[in-house]
Each structure stands twice: as structure tokens, then as C-alpha cells.
Symmetry: C2
Subunit: 179 residues, 2 copies
């Protein structure tokens, strides 16, 4: 059910095509949600059937035509209704890296260390990407209310830093074991 509200939320700011929405999901929304384009197109169809969004076809030359979606009054109502609900306790994480870590007693420490170093490097790269995205985004949206983006990006960056610190801690534990 959450994907539909993510879509309605993005549409509450501006008209967007399915393609645009998919772009958003691979950029600012990516810090806390993800969705494939296939899922987005299907959900948009449902939202349209339920009267929560409308679309109009825009013809373009040199490019495929597109469908621009906009929120209806009923869509806005539903979105605000959802926002007013008391949320259920958050889902537990499903983190495959941690799942592997939980089985580190089965592999030699050198392999565990190599694995953790790779994971650390990966998360550092993601952190860097977030910083760059943030600089570009906030420069471009200087005059708008970007509190949501500020806060979610900030959390994403804190998460990455926490991960990197934890990797160092874990590597340290395995290093001291090797001796």
C-alpha cells in the first residue's frame, strides 16, 4: 500500500509522467524507497481507475508521446488521510550483508575481512554520491520548501556513515582474532 502514497506524494508537487516518477525513485526517493518502472506503470493504472489521478497525453516530436499524471481532489484527500493515520511500527530490515555476517563463524577471518572492506568501500561510494546529489539538488531548488529532502537525505547519509564506522569496528574484531 505504501507505493501508491509515494506516488501520490510526488504528484502532490507537480505533474509527472510514469517515466519521470521512475527517475525520482532512482534519485531522491532512493534513500528510503525503491520501485521498478513496471510496478509504477501498473500502480498508476490502478490509481487512475480509482479516480485518484488523471492523465492527459502529451504528443512530442522526436520522442515517444507521454502521459502526464496529476493528482485529483480525491487523491489529495486520500494522501492526507494516510498521513494522518498513526503508522504501524516500522518493518524490520532485511539486510543480506548482515545475514552473511551472522554466518561468519563458517568462513576464515581473512575472507570476512575482505568482505567487510568491500562493503565499506561500497557504502563510502554511495555516501559520496549522496553528497553530490544533495549539492546539485539544493542548488537547483533554492527557493522551494525542501525540508523533506533535507531530512531524508540527512538520514541516508547518517546511515551510510554508521555503516562505515561499523565496518571498521567489525574489521578490527577480526584483525584481533587473527593473532
Amino acid at each position: 500500500m505504501a507505493l501508491r502514497y509515494a506516488l501520490l506524494g510526488l504528484l502532490s508537487r507537480e505533474e509527472l509522467s510514469g517515466y519521470d516518477l521512475a527517475q525520482r525513485f532512482s534519485q531522491q526517493v532512493s534513500h528510503f524507497w525503491e520501485a521498478h518502472h513496471t510496478q509504477i506503470y501498473r500502480e498508476l493504472q490502478k490509481l487512475e481507475e480509482e479516480g485518484l489521478v488523471n492523465f492527459h497525453r502529451v504528443e512530442q516530436q522526436d520522442r515517444p508521446d507521454k502521459k502526464m499524471y496529476e493528482l485529483t481532489d480525491r487523491g489529495m484527500e486520500q494522501l492526507l488521510g494516510w498521513l494522518a493515520e498513526t503508522p504501524k511500527p516500522p518493518k524490520k530490515m532485511k539486510h543480506e550483508v548482515l545475514l552473511r555476517v551472522s554466518m561468519f563463524h563458517l568462513i576464515p577471518p581473512e575472507r570476512a575481512i575482505a568482505f567487510l572492506q568491500e562493503s565499506k568501500a561500497y557504502h563510502l561510494r554511495v555516501l559520496e554520491g549522496m553528497e553530490m546529489w544533495g549539492q546539485a539538488y539544493f542548488a537547483e531548488h533554492k527557493d522551494e520548501d525542501t525540508i523533506g529532502e533535507t531530512l531524508t537525505l540527512d538520514f541516508g547519509m547518517r546511515f551510510m556513515k554508521t555503516w562505515v564506522e561499523w565496518c571498521d569496528f567489525a574489521i578490527g574484531m577480526f584483525e584481533s582474532r587473527k593473532k
Copy 2:
């Protein structure tokens, strides 16, 4: 595919029933994975059909009978094979609280602050629960290799602390806006 390896991993230490496995998922495994009992029972059936686990029925008085599952050699092989694979980049988070935060421009700041305070309190309670679980668990498993549990619990606790700190930061931002 990951659930099956979580099950094989737990069975690599000891024989367990489906019920036992479900218990594990609501305790130590819960910091990084979750699974309903319905899913566990179904997956165990599949694993048995594929010859990765065996079970034998244990009759009990005063309690329902149970099926104890143990890893086969092929099961261990598959588990080690999976551990040796290079993992794909981790999935993005899906965090409903952050999804709501991303739409905070649609609600009044007082509501946002109340929401964040509740979330903070919730995560503090979870953190406390983790600390207590850790103390009990490590006291009980003093003589075993608990590096996996140590590291995954440590990450879980770091995550909770990061969340709490971020809540304070976010509340601060809204407080300064109210003026």
C-alpha cells in the same frame, strides 16, 4: 532466495523445529531479517524436498509433537557456496517513516514534531530491548563463538542510536521553523 540461507545458517549450529526457527527470527535474527512462521514452514518443506535438510518427528507428552530439522551435507555445501558468492549491491531500504517525512511539507510543524517524538521514543524502546537481549544472550553463550551475534547486534544498536540522533536533528529543524 535469502530466507532459505538464513534457515540453513541457523540449522548449521543445531537441530531446530520450525517453531524454534520462528522464535529465532523474532529474537536474534530480527535485527536484520524477519519471517513469518507460515513462510518458514513452507520453505522447510521445499528444503526437505531438495534434500538440503532432513527431519525426524519427536513425540512429546503434554505438548504437540514436533519435527526436528537438521542440515544435510548437501545443505552445508549449498550454504558455503552461497557464502562464497560475491553479493549483489544491497537492496535499498523501504522505510515508511521516511516516506512520511518526505511529505512533511503537507502537514503543520506541530504534527511533524509529535510524529518524530513518537518515532524517537519507539526506537529508544527497541534499543533498550536490544541491550537487554544482548546481556542475556551473551551470558548464556559465554563459551561459544558468538561473533556473528555480536556484530549484527552491534549494528542494530548503532542503527537505533543513529535514528534517535536524527530524530533530534529533525525535531530541531521544525522547532526553529515554528518561530
